[in-house]
């Protein structure tokens, strides 16, 4: 087994003529928490979506838990089982109850029994502090609650890595902290996390490393203390000035 949870080597991604990601090299160690930030259109969401093949990269290699991400469908499915993902817009299945949302993939993909899956789902729903909503439909929940369910749903697959794609960007301000609390809890338990976010307080508190991207390139990466207090590149300084300076 490889040392790295995620290992990306000189990866390039194009949308037609547009060069979306340029020579990305990224390693994420086991248990490491990485926060990716940068202006919109910098490719940070694209990068995280390439890791579980929601987007296809055109050059370079990606390995997740030592499994190469290539055109082999079995490998893709295995990587997706290992890496849970939380989306900006929650993407809960609206025609299923909260509990069904959480048990669907474990029963279908992990072949768990219904009872087993439901017990696990309830324990995760308790962990995100909404077990009492288990039999409601997503449309009956607030945004913050839906996002916590989305986290629980991903955890039900018992992934080794969690990918967060701007998990708080679509939330009303008063609901952001309830989601961040859950994520902090996860980080403290040692989960490997890659998180695209603008929540700089979260980055400072949780991240082992902060990565700054712009125009499809990684511009700078450093531990949060150094990144925030002593950024090297001009672009990082400008960005931080815009994000923190009000």
């Amino acid at each position: 087994m490889s040392e790295q949870a995620i290992s990306v080597r000189s990866m390039n991604k194009f949308y037609g003529e547009f060069h979306a990601l340029k020579n990305i090299d990224l390693d994420v160690g086991r248990g490491e928490k990485v926060v990716i930030c940068g202006p919109s259109g910098s490719g940070k969401s694209t990068l995280i979506r390439c890791i579980n093949r929601l987007e296809e990269h055109q050059a370079g290699t990606i390995e997740v838990n030592g499994i190469p991400l290539d055109d082999n469908v079995d490998n893709i499915d295995e990587i997706r089982r290992e890496a849970g993902m939380v989306f900006q817009n929650f993407n809960l299945f609206p025609h299923m109850t909260i509990l069904e949302n959480c048990t669907l993939a474990p029963t279908l993909v992990r072949k768990q029994s219904r009872k087993e899956a439901e017990e696990a789902a309830m324990s995760y729903l308790e962990r995100v502090k909404i077990p009492e909503q288990a039999h409601k439909y997503p449309g009956e929940l607030s945004g913050g609650q839906q996002q916590r369910v989305a986290i629980a749903r991903a955890l039900c697959m018992a992934p080794e890595i969690m990918l967060f794609d701007e998990p708080t960007s679509a939330l009303d301000p008063e609901m952001i902290s309830e989601v961040l609390d859950v994520m902090v809890g996860l980080a403290e338990e040692g989960m490997t996390m890659v998180c695209v976010t603008h929540e700089m307080g979260f980055a400072r508190q949780v991240a082992d490393r902060v990565i700054f991207m712009a125009e499809g390139e990684i511009i700078e990466e450093a531990p949060p203390g150094e990144f925030f207090d002593n950024p090297k590149s001009e672009r990082t300084k400008t960005f931080l000035g815009q994000v923190l300076g009000h």
Partner: protein, 357 residues
């Protein structure tokens, strides 16, 4: 907190506001009300007050032109309902119809919405229907498909077309949005070609032309060829309806399923199709209604569906004056069926919107 006074509007003031706001408004209201009343009275008078009831009164009916002759229905209903089906065996046709009806009603009950129960229910239903109609086993006299007719034929064609066409339409819709361009484009072409042909031409081709092309063992009875042709026609329309339903699903839904490691068939079966059908419910019910009504086109290739049987029933010299009564009767049968279908569709919509509030 201050309570605002709630505006109570009485029924009378509402009527006044909506229908008698200005003198012109009032005039139009009165005129239309009078016109409606006149038409309703005319129909009521014809259908009930002046009507002639009872068995075999065609001579009285002929003499009495102002009222409906329900005696026609009382006397000739068996021809309308069963067509050319042998008279002594018509109880079988009736029973077969009732079996189909029960199966249809049962499959509307959520208890049966289950990948195992529904197919079993329909297979048992179809087998019972076929054995009753076709006979030849259990001491039942054989009756060939050519002699089937009336309501049971209409119901049989409709049910077979939907059951054959529905799975086919799902396959068409999925092929139509395949990631391989040549599959998607070929399917799009097939759908567009078949949709641009008249249903009549397709039925005719399958009934008359196909026997020259197909090997002998694959020909089957004319009835089944027509049903297959009609089912393909149905599937092309329904496939586009389903595709529309699929396109209305946010892309995040499939992405979330992918991110959970769910494979293609799991994504289609548990995430995409349930939501697509929910989105596409109103046009789907619409398609069922149209399909039911268009079964009447099978007359053109010599089958006695309920409309053709009706015409036959009013076709003899002693009842030839009763065409209006015949059309009213057949129309009523169509109405009962289509109206229940629409109400059921409305119930489904309500139920689904409750589920995903």
């Amino acid at each position: 907190m201050t309570d605002l006074p709630i505006q109570h509007t009485s029924a009378f003031s509402n009527i006044k506001r909506h229908y008698f706001a200005t003198p012109l408004n009032s005039a139009i209201t009165v005129l239309l009300a009078a016109f409606t009343a006149w038409i309703l009275w005319g129909f009521f008078n014809w259908a009930f007050l002046e009507a002639i009831w009872g068995y075999g009164k065609n001579e009285e009916c002929r003499a009495h032109e102002h009222g409906a002759c329900w005696s026609f229905v009382a006397t000739r209903w068996r021809i309308v309902l069963f067509g050319l089906y042998p008279f002594e065996e018509q109880w079988r046709s009736a029973l077969a119809c009732i079996v189909m009806l029960i199966v249809a009603i049962l499959s509307c009950v959520p208890v049966f919405w289950n990948a195992k129960r529904l197919p079993v229910l329909w297979m048992v239903g179809f087998a019972t229907f076929y054995i009753l109609m076709r006979g030849g086993v259990f001491g039942l006299t054989p009756v060939v498909e050519r002699d089937w007719g009336g309501l049971s034929l209409t119901v049989f064609i409709f049910a077979s077309v939907c059951l054959l066409g529905m799975p086919l339409s799902i396959i068409f819709a999925l092929l139509r949005r395949s990631e391989l361009p040549w599959i998607a484009r070929t399917m799009a072409l097939v759908i567009d070609v078949i949709r641009s042909l008249p249903l009549l031409a397709i039925m005719f081709t399958f009934a008359i032309v196909l026997p020259f092309v197909l090997p002998g063992w694959a020909i089957g009875d004319k009835l089944y060829r027509v049903i297959v042709g009609y089912a393909i026609f149905f599937a092309c329309y329904q496939a586009e309806i389903i595709r529309g339903g699929i396109q209305a699903i946010p892309s995040g839904q499939e992405e979330a399923a992918k991110a959970l490691g769910m494979g293609y068939w799991h994504r289609i079966g548990y995430i995409v199709l349930p939501q697509a059908f929910r989105n596409a419910l109103p046009p789907t019910i619409n398609q069922f209604v149209i399909t039911f009504k268009e079964t009447s086109l099978v007359t053109i290739i010599g089958f006695f569906d309920i409309l053709a049987s009706g015409r036959a029933a009013a076709g003899t010299a002693d009842w030839s004056f009763a065409t209006i009564e015949m059309y009213v009767f057949v129309g009523l049968l169509f109405f009962v069926f289509v109206f229940s279908l629409s109400r059921y569709g409305a119930y489904l919509e309500r139920r689904m919107s409750l589920n995903s509030r």
